[in-house]
């Protein structure tokens, strides 16, 4: 606002005849700036809000931040989030996407920029289990595991990774595009699919999603 006022004042004082042109150019430049991809190395991606036990946030420079109980630790690209045995955490990433981490989980935050599609947020799940719920409206979010990727628009789902990378996807609401290097399967509400190294994701099967939700009770979800 202050910048806009300054631009307006400058235009009015110096060259009233060209004020509109200057203002248009300024607004244009500001708009261009807002469309420029987030190339800064410290792009803010979200906030860690709640931890039962301890959530450890490991920064790219190896500095560790810890959240216990309620808080607001800002999360940036390249941060690694870790929960140990008995710990759980809730974070919110941009566009109102809620992510819960179960115990023994390691998650890394990234984004991908594309000129055609803008920014896609990426959660790289190395081990453990997460639950994701997007707010209303389409989102650009992907969850990567060692053997598969889930592309998300407007959904609630749970992903669990075993030590060998095998990934279990349970969709509670909406549709998730679940893919490996061998093919992609759309997984819909109340179905489950598995991603295994060297294979296409399995055909979705109906599942009762309530047991999958059980671990979220402590986080109020």
């Amino acid at each position: 606002m202050r910048a806009n006022r300054s631009i307006r004042a400058f235009c009015q004082q110096r060259q009233p005849g060209t004020a509109r042109l200057r203002l248009s150019l300024s607004v244009g430049l500001l708009l261009l700036g807002s469309l420029t991809p987030l190339f800064a190395q410290n792009a803010l991606l979200g906030t860690a809000q709640t931890a039962i036990g301890t959530l450890v946030v490991i920064r790219p420079d190896r500095i560790e931040d810890r959240l216990q109980g309620k808080g607001a630790i800002q999360l940036y690209e390249g941060d690694v989030l870790q929960t140990e045995a008995g710990s759980q955490a809730l974070i919110e990433i941009k566009e109102g996407i809620e992510v819960a981490l179960n115990e023994n989980t390691t998650l890394k935050l990234f984004y991908r920029w594309e000129k055609a599609n803008g920014v896609t947020q990426i959660l790289r799940l190395k081990q453990g289990e997460i639950w994701v719920k997007t707010g209303p409206g389409p989102k650009q979010l992907e969850v990567e595991t060692p053997v598969a990727t889930a592309a998300v628009r407007e959904t609630e789902f749970n992903m669990k990774v075993q030590d060998d990378g095998e990934t279990t996807l349970t969709v509670m609401q909406g549709t998730v595009e679940f893919g490996t290097a061998f093919g992609t399967c759309p997984i819909r509400t109340a179905t489950i699919s598995y991603g295994v190294r060297g294979k296409r994701c399995t055909k979705p099967e109906p599942v009762d999603v309530q047991p999958t939700r059980a671990w979220l009770q402590g986080l109020g979800k």
């Binding site: 190339f39 990567e144 290097a181």
Partner: protein, 353 residues
């Protein structure tokens, strides 16, 4: 009313005369026209333009890619990789997409070669080093030194569809001719991992020597690699998955390309950074030997690293990270026919068809 009639009549006469005259002229023209002949259909086959060939050079310390015309050797432009430490390049078969690893960013840049701009950046892994496209070009395999794995990037959606654990500090990737196996060199393990591309698992580990680095598929259908930490190169036969040849070429060998010398060849051309040379080898693994050692120092070139041959195998493009230039070497005469300034610390060069 009566006054108008003669005028109308006169006009009508003129019109009739005009029409008759025009018809006559048309008749005359028709008579004078030569008889129609059956013409052959026009040639529709186009001869591909030689000037379509382009040279791309990754400049690690400029975070950019220099684009050079493959015929005139003039610079077309410089592309900002929008990341840090641009290291390796892989060009799609149709030449429209260039994939560039960025060591410091841990990201893969996707470049539109028509627009000469970066159109996507994909986070792969810490210290991503080299990128190689699968034989069908559906995936880019990226070696992440800092994570001891390979990221599999879908070349259409730019999604990472999985990672493959390999040896410690992967630095080179090449695929067999049939695409069934990938070879991944690992600095930390001093070995090459053989990956079954169907199961995406390491099925064999082949010991090599210190700091194995670059890998490439040779014209003999074998995998050629350099031990940058040693003085030698080695050859792996995919038929047996064994190392079948090795030879010392000089200190710190970097990359390998294959070209002809007139009727003879193909020969392996190796950039040897420590001796400022390009060493030429015979490619028969039973009789692998040094044929020539070409000093590049006299051509204002220092520390050769990247090397690539044109599709015809008559020109070699050598990126010199110590002198920030690209040499164009005629393989027939060993004559340097062009020296082109590029960005800082050029590491890798690839050429479109």
């Amino acid at each position: 009313m009566q006054r108008k009639r003669p005028c109308a009549r006169t006009l009508s006469r003129y019109l009739v005369l005009l029409l008759v005259g025009l018809t006559g002229c048309a008749e005359l023209s028709r008579k004078e026209a030569p008889p129609q002949q059956q013409q052959p259909p026009p040639q529709t086959r186009e001869i591909p333009s030689q000037s379509a060939s382009r040279i791309y050079v990754a400049n690690e310390s400029s975070n950019s890619v220099t684009v050079i015309d493959g015929l005139s050797f003039t610079m077309i432009g410089t592309i900002d990789a929008r990341n840090y430490a641009t290291h390796d390049l892989a060009l799609s078969r149709d030449g429209t997409r260039l994939f560039a690893t960025n060591l410091a960013s841990g990201k893969l840049s996707v470049i539109d070669t028509n627009a000469l701009e970066t159109i996507a950046t994909v986070p792969t892994g810490s210290r991503c080093h080299v990128v190689t496209l699968t034989n069908d070009n559906r995936f880019a395999w990226v070696a992440n030194i800092g994570e001891d794995n390979i990221s599999i990037v879908d070349t259409s959606s730019y999604r990472i569809l999985g990672t493959i654990p390999v040896g410690q500090g992967p630095t080179g990737i090449a695929f067999s001719v049939d695409g069934k196996f990938a070879y991944v060199s690992s600095q930390g393990d001093k070995s090459v991992s053989v990956v079954d591309t169907t199961s995406q698992e390491v099925i064999k580990t082949i010991p090599v020597k210190t700091n194995p680095h670059f890998l490439v598929l040779g014209p003999d259908r074998r995998i050629w690699g350099t031990n940058t930490g040693e003085n030698d190169i080695y050859v792996i036969d995919p038929a047996t998955q064994d190392k079948i040849a090795t030879i010392e070429v000089g200190p710190s060998p970097q990359q390998i390309a294959f070209a002809y010398k007139g009727m003879a060849g193909p020969y392996a051309y190796i950039t040897v950074s420590g001796s400022n040379q390009v060493v030429v080898l015979s490619t028969d693994p039973k009789n692998i030997r040094i044929l020539e050692q070409i000093d590049i120092g006299p051509f204002q070139a220092q520390r050769p690293n990247g090397i690539w041959a044109n599709p015809e195998g008559t020109r070699l493009f050598i990126a010199n990270e110590g002198s920030n230039n690209l040499l164009v070497l005629d393989s027939g005469t060993n004559e340097v026919i062009a020296t082109i300034p590029v960005g800082r610390k050029p590491i890798r060069v690839v050429v479109s068809r």
